[in-house]
């Protein structure tokens, strides 16, 4: 519970963060809300030598709805998403998912960008952005680029984000069609054992904690598009998945849960 020594650097902008990351290379870690990184450091499972604190950088938080797109600054906290009337109107799924992350203390500190960049397959928000077909905007030494959520998550706690890039913004389409998030866990504050996310009446279906990354349940989406009932489509939710095993669930049980929860989510979303 006692972290190793670390240098601390506070930056005021995304550009300064990119420069600091470039300077310190692999030794540096970007710190935003700290809800994942700090516990890892306290257990000495993460031992960066430089922390680049982007938490107070300007221009990186806030929610704005323009046309068909909701743009959210990477530093926007879960709590802000949870309580935004604008988001509740434009993308109720995302607002709801933010409200079931961790506990209130986590939601007040944790940020959307931090959660996505951490790329934990057991986290709620990455799967939500995936189900919504979101886009991630990142800044690097060569300027900014956009990454589709479907291309962003590359492995367990790994993403397409380069070591010297900073996630600055998340864009999701305005989505008011039927939605549901069925989060199955033992305690309110826990990660999902399995979660099933349905956006836009079934156009987007994503699963939490069923692989090394958050995944789209494309066979379910395809079955629905082909006219299958919710129950029939959900029966394929776990097809070709290789879910992890831990204290709470082994692979076959996770697959069973994925089918049950996907069916419930589809039914709740009116698919």
């Amino acid at each position: 519970m006692i972290p190793a020594a670390v240098d601390y650097l506070r930056v005021e902008s995304a550009e300064a963060a990119v420069a600091a990351l470039g300077e310190h290379g692999d030794e540096a870690k970007l710190l935003a809300g700290g809800q994942s990184l700090i516990p890892l450091m306290r257990l000495r499972l993460a031992t960066p030598t430089v922390l680049v604190d982007v938490g107070r950088a300007t221009g990186l938080s806030g929610i704005s709805v323009g046309g068909d797109t909701v743009s959210i600054g990477a530093l926007t906290t879960h709590s802000s998403l949870e309580h935004s009337a604008e988001l509740a109107a434009a993308c109720p799924l995302l607002a709801h998912v933010a409200s079931v992350v961790g506990d209130p203390a986590v939601r007040h500190r944790g940020t959307l960008g931090g959660s996505l960049a951490h790329a934990d397959p057991a986290s709620d928000l990455p799967a939500a952005v995936l189900a919504l077909g979101g886009t991630l905007v990142v800044s690097g030494p060569g300027g900014s680029r956009e990454i589709a959520a479907t291309d962003f998550f590359t492995g367990f706690l790994e993403s397409d984000l380069a070591a010297d890039e900073v996630l600055t913004e998340v864009r999701v389409p305005v989505s008011t069609g039927g939605w549901s998030y069925q989060k199955f866990n033992r305690r309110a504050q826990d990660w999902a054992i399995v979660g099933a996310m349905v956006a836009e009446g079934g156009a987007g279906v994503a699963l939490v904690n069923m692989a090394s990354t958050p995944i789209r349940a494309s066979s379910v989406e395809a079955a629905l598009a082909g006219g299958a009932s919710a129950a029939d489509a959900a029966a394929g939710a776990a097809d070709s998945t290789e879910p992890p095993t831990d204290n709470q669930a082994d692979g076959p049980y996770r697959q069973h849960l994925a089918r049950v929860l996907t069916r419930r989510a589809l039914e709740a979303a009116g698919a």
Binding site: M1, I2, A4, A5, L43, R44, D103, F184, R186, R187, A188, Q189, D190, W191, I193, N247, Q248, A249, D250, Y253, H256, L257, R259, V260, L261
Partner: protein, 802 residues
């Protein structure tokens, strides 16, 4: 949170007439606790103190082949590194086990720092001393220990087989066998004649106590005069003082132990731990303060764990389901070493496997074994939750066998009220009891009949969300304990408690108690008792505790003993002070002491209401000593040490209603009623608080908590993300009510309530889970009833499409 349905908290014959006892007064302790003003061990500011960090074995069972501390010693801030061999000469004896339950009990030497071999993952193999907590933690990474891993003994049946013997000098993994079989022939005859013979086997998983505040120690020596102050987050400063002095070979009068504010213990701080003795030894070596604060991971691996038993219980009954004998057999896991009272934990349940049922024949046997896991010891309830679980689960099985409801089988077997005081088949005398009303009231609170009808409807409709109802009626023995009884059980100390009551010149009151609070609200309850007796304001009563220099005599807090033992000592000391004050008042009024009555803080002459003197006048007179009766000592002060003649036996009935989602296996508690009887209640709000926390802690054993170990003896739930302590979000509103049947074991008529909730709730919930699943033919779910276990049981029973 609670519906309190009966406000009568005192029996009509209670000795409390001052109008204060029985009130739901807010706790005196809470403003300081809620604002951060209270000082816990880690808040202590000790300039110049050195910090230690422990190098702990990552292996459950391994020989230590070499320790290289050169890299650590080169690190900034590291002052020294000690191996077990380096410190071996510092100990006058190994860590103490105060309960050698049998004469031939195997008790392997347990040194604070292991020498030669580590016997569980978390065993201390070296200690780093450094100038800061951070430097000490860095130093641990620089200590290179080579191990030769050995096969770990994890399963208790495997341990009992002696396939791998952990402690070579013991020659076996069996620590002891203990039996309580008053009449073997009667038991055999009852089973031979039984119409119904139920045999059930249950497993109590290991639990991590997980108080909010982990442990912590600071040893502050005065090298020139040889004194030492030991600060520890402990439940037992008095016991610790004796044991630490013995273990270090230090003159006891030179040691002062202080427990600052202590953030919960649940039994895990009822111990003498390696880190306490290491800090003391190193404070001596370095001639200055040495401190340590436990991490949450260490709290999981290196503080004692609880439960860890496998039980078989057999019931013999006649055709009507009337019990004729109970036979219980236990296999208990002591872990790698015997901690302070660990061997006695099964014995605290040994007398209660027949529950609150009138049973003529009784047999209990226990075998306790060593494993390569964290040592176990007393955890909230200690032996009694296990006993209650076995009999209450088995009573449901008997009800099925007989073909009656779980309520009816209990009613047929309750000890009849007219049999109290009741000579139990295990040899105890139950003080008082009236069991049926608690069952009746609990059924009413959950709408038992309505819920049964709803359950039937859901079953008939083929719903995937099934209801289950579970009853747990319990009696427990607490108020530890009559010293002579403890002697008969080979316990190494007595069970008395001490209190001093001192009325100051201004008629404010100081109370000194040997009972050491760690969250129970002693300051509030104790001041209410004294205020009620003396007719003063409770805010004018200061309660001093938890420091052996201020309160030199005490046996501390565990086993729901504080009120019935420590509170009784206090009540008696106050009566003694009143007696003295009465003599002085009589002298002042030139009346006879027998003619005085004392009420509302005023002495008056019976029949002459104008002749009176307030306690304040007596207090000041006792202080000035200008005009006291001949031979009387000045001041109003009395000390009493009370050794109870019997335990107290609280009881009650809890009913849980659960919903089981058959598709996912998730169990949800949807209703809970608890009707408890702890005799006269001093502060009903504190009683409710103890019940709320206790019930949730017991529900947690049924539904959430499990110290999961893998086959190599590695703890896979060493943090609060993996070890599922429930939060407020998982709790439901509980329906609490009570009856009041005063104890006859003490003059206040009180019983304990600190452990009752935990004792009662686990079987209530598990009976409800099994009740919900009974149509599938399921008769047991291993605790905790996790969704995966429940779902798998349904699948194995052939139910529920995947």
């Amino acid at each position: 949170m609670t519906d309190t349905l009966d406000t009568r908290t005192l029996d009509e014959a209670s000795p409390f007439t001052g109008g204060i006892v029985g009130q739901a007064r807010l706790r005196k302790e809470d403003p300081a606790l809620l604002t951060g003003e209270s000082r816990f061990i880690d808040d202590l500011v000790l300039p110049g103190a050195l910090w230690i960090a422990c190098v702990r074995s990552p292996h459950a069972h391994a020989r230590i082949t070499s320790i290289d501390s050169s890299a650590a010693l080169a690190a900034d801030g590291v002052v020294a590194v000690y191996s077990g061999a380096d410190l071996e000469g510092d100990w006058a004896g190994p860590l103490p086990c105060a309960w050698p339950v049998t004469d031939d009990m195997k008790n392997p030497a347990h040194l604070p720092v292991a020498v030669g071999k580590a016997n569980y993952a978390g065993d201390i193999v070296a200690v780093v001393v450094a100038s800061s907590r951070y430097a000490a933690a860095d130093g641990v990474e620089g200590v290179v220990v080579d191990y030769e891993p050995l096969e770990a003994v994890v399963d208790i049946e495997d341990a009992a087989s002696d396939r791998v013997v952990i402690h070579e000098d013991c020659g076996t993994n069996v620590s002891y066998d203990w039996a309580l079989v008053p009449d073997p022939d009667a038991v055999d005859a009852a089973f031979a004649d039984a119409v119904h013979h139920v045999t059930e086997t249950y497993v109590h998983q290991r639990l991590i106590p997980a108080p909010m505040e982990p442990r912590g120690v600071a040893a502050v020596p005065s090298p020139h005069n040889g004194d030492m102050v030991l600060y520890s987050s402990t439940q037992i400063p008095h016991v610790l003082k004796v044991m630490a002095a013995l273990t270090l070979g230090m003159p006891e009068q030179k040691l002062r132990v202080i427990a600052p504010s202590v953030g919960g213990g649940f039994g895990c701080k009822l111990n003498v731990y390696a880190e306490e003795l290491i800090c003391m030894a190193l404070a001596n070596r370095h001639g200055g303060a040495v401190r340590w604060t436990e991490s949450r991971t260490e709290a999981a691996t290196s503080t004692i764990q609880g439960r860890a038993q496998r039980q078989t219980i057999e019931l013999a009954a006649d055709a009507d389901g009337k019990l004729t004998a109970v036979r219980a057999t236990l296999l208990a896991d002591m872990g790698a070493y015997l901690q302070l009272v660990a061997p006695g934990v099964p014995l605290l349940g040994a007398f209660l496997y027949h529950g609150l049922y009138d049973v003529p024949a009784y047999a209990f046997t226990c075998r306790s074994v060593f494993t390569n896991l964290t040592p176990t010891d007393a955890y909230r309830g200690a032996g009694r939750p296990e006993a209650t679980y076995a009999i209450e689960r088995a009573m449901d099985a008997l009800a099925i066998a007989v073909g009656v409801g779980p309520d009816e089988i209990r009613s047929r077997n309750f000890i009849p009220t007219e049999k109290f005081p009741y000579d139990s088949p295990a040899g105890l005398i139950f003080d008082s009891g009236n069991y049926q009303p608690t069952l009746d009231r609990a059924k009413e609170l959950v709408d038992w009949d309505g819920r049964r009808a709803e359950q039937a409807e859901r079953r008939a409709a083929g719903s995937t969300t099934q209801l289950g109802l579970g009853i747990s009626s319990y009696v427990e023995m607490c108020g530890l304990a009559p010293s002579r009884t403890l002697a008969a059980l080979n316990y190494g100390a007595g069970g008395w408690e001490s209190a001093t009551v001192r009325i100051l010149p201004t008629c404010k009151v100081q109370v000194v108690t040997g009972s050491t609070p760690h969250g129970q609200g002693h300051e509030t309850s104790w001041s209410m008792i004294v205020a009620d007796q003396l007719g003063v304001d409770p805010d004018d009563v200061e309660v001093l505790h938890s420091d052996t220099a201020i309160s030199p005599l005490g046996m501390d807090t565990y086993g729901s003993r504080s009120l019935s033992v420590g509170g009784t000592a206090l009540w008696m000391a106050t009566e003694k002070v009143i007696d003295k004050a009465r003599t002085i008042a009589a002298h002042m009024m030139e009346a006879s002491a027998e003619d005085l009555e004392f009420s509302g803080g005023v002495f008056s002459v019976k029949g002459s209401p104008d002749r009176e003197v307030p306690l304040a006048g007596v207090a000041f007179g006792a202080f000035t000593a200008h005009d006291l009766p001949d031979g009387m000592e000045p001041n109003l002060e009395a000390q009493v040490t009370w050794d109870p003649g019997n335990f107290v036996f609280p009881f009650g009935t809890h009913i849980a209603v659960v919903e089981v989602d058959e598709e996912t296996g998730a169990v949800e508690l949807v209703d809970y009623a608890a009707v408890d009887d702890c005799g006269n209640q001093i502060n009903p709000m504190i009683v409710e608080g103890q019940l709320h926390g206790g019930i949730v802690q017991g529900v947690a054993q049924a539904l959430w908590e499990e110290a999961i170990y893998d086959e190599d003896g590695q703890l896979r739930a060493a943090n609060l993300a993996d070890y599922l302590v429930p939060s407020a979000a998982e709790c439901i509103d509980m329906k609490l009510d009570h009856t009041v049947t005063p104890s006859t074991s003490n003059p206040m008529g009180v019983k304990g309530i600190g452990e009752a909730g935990t004792i009662a709730s686990t079987p209530a919930v598990m009976n409800a889970v099994v009740d919900a699943l009974r149509p599938h033919g399921i008769t047991d779910i291993v605790m905790p009833a996790s969704p995966m276990r429940v779902r798998r049981a349904i699948e194995m029973a052939g139910g529920g499409a995947s």
